[in-house]
Symmetry: C3
């Protein structure tokens, strides 16, 4: 019985330890270094914790186009490519997104953005909010943020 | 060979069972078909994954009021009714919301929106952000998004 | 020693049981009562559920400065202090934030806000969206919302 008590205690400790060990930890996808040098921007592109991946707001402006106007469709592709790339850094795909927020400085781009957006997803789509905002950093027309959870589907 | 078939079948069942058991469960509440036909809008009204339900941005404009102005209080009711309906499709209620974001094109509506909003909740309230934005789709004054987790309380 | 072993086992089990029993609950950090009286604002400052803490949109306007302009850097400190305080009410720190959304009415404040923001965090940073919005309640320049998950790191 003494040994049983020890055993029970050890099992109890192991269960607790397993809980700690099962803590998936967190995985950060760092923001790229600024093109012009200077301090790193104070955010990660994405953070994985407990199986949920929080995707930072991404923009799709062309770093090479110093303030020049970018075709809005090209920018839509660039921002979604950027989100896709960050997801891939965490072993995820666009299909794993469960929630997306699109901030957009010009709601007249709603339909053309949707046409591009559809090409990045399979039905059923993530939940989404589409918000007409005042201004985005670097003159972007779109900023896209989201939340992803690894889907159990095979072959993804 | 017979035994192998049985074994394969059992393995197959076990694999299926394991897949189902591991399946965190993803449930999509689809967006309604567009009133005027055309392709479905590229979002779901809500996505349930791992017990967390992501509620898309909902608006409360009146589809029957072709661009006509809608009383802002009536619109506040409509948008919250729409959120409530989507939650109910996932077996949830407003009390299960833990986080809400209200996007609003006119902050002078803050107090009147709050008066309507209170009538949809029991204390304690979800966390909330209230953001004055530039423009929303279909001329809406309000867009409401959120995150809900089934509360353990009985009788809900 | 035998009794000690039993006791250790029981304590171990109780710790596990207490952790599990505490799991399904949710913890609300209530909004402070309005300075001028009247009904409580219809939101909580934060809601903890299943180990995830949803932080409401916080602002950093000075309640004492009745509509007066506040230095934007001071306001940035105040809003981040407010978020920090809410996190602390839930036993969390800024390091536990995994996702942050900054709504800002003047994108020319981007660099100065970032300078203040960096001082509240350790690398690696949470994911973040930075959105230029039209207007915020009480004339705030910044509203900051987020999601936090207790990090497993020791000594926090």
């Amino acid at each position: 019985m003494f040994k049983k008590a020890i055993a029970a205690s050890v099992v109890g400790l192991l269960v607790c330890a397993a809980t700690l060990a099962a803590e998936p930890g967190r995985h950060y996808v760092p923001a790229p270094a600024p093109a012009g040098g200077g301090p790193a921007l104070p955010f990660s592109e994405g953070v994985m914790v407990g199986g949920t991946f929080y995707v930072a707001g991404h923009i799709g402006t062309d770093p090479a186009a110093q303030g020049g106007a970018l075709d809005a469709d090209a920018e839509a592709h660039r921002v979604l490519d950027a989100v896709k790339h960050t997801l891939s850094e965490a072993g995820l795909s666009m299909d794993d997104l469960v929630s997306v927020t699109v901030y957009c400085t010009d709601l007249s781009l709603y339909d053309s953005f949707n046409a591009v957006y559809r090409s990045y997803f399979h039905v059923p789509y993530p939940a989404r909010a589409f918000i007409g905002v005042n201004q985005l950093v670097r003159g972007a027309h779109f900023e896209v943020a989201g939340i992803a959870v690894k889907s159990p589907g095979a072959g993804r």
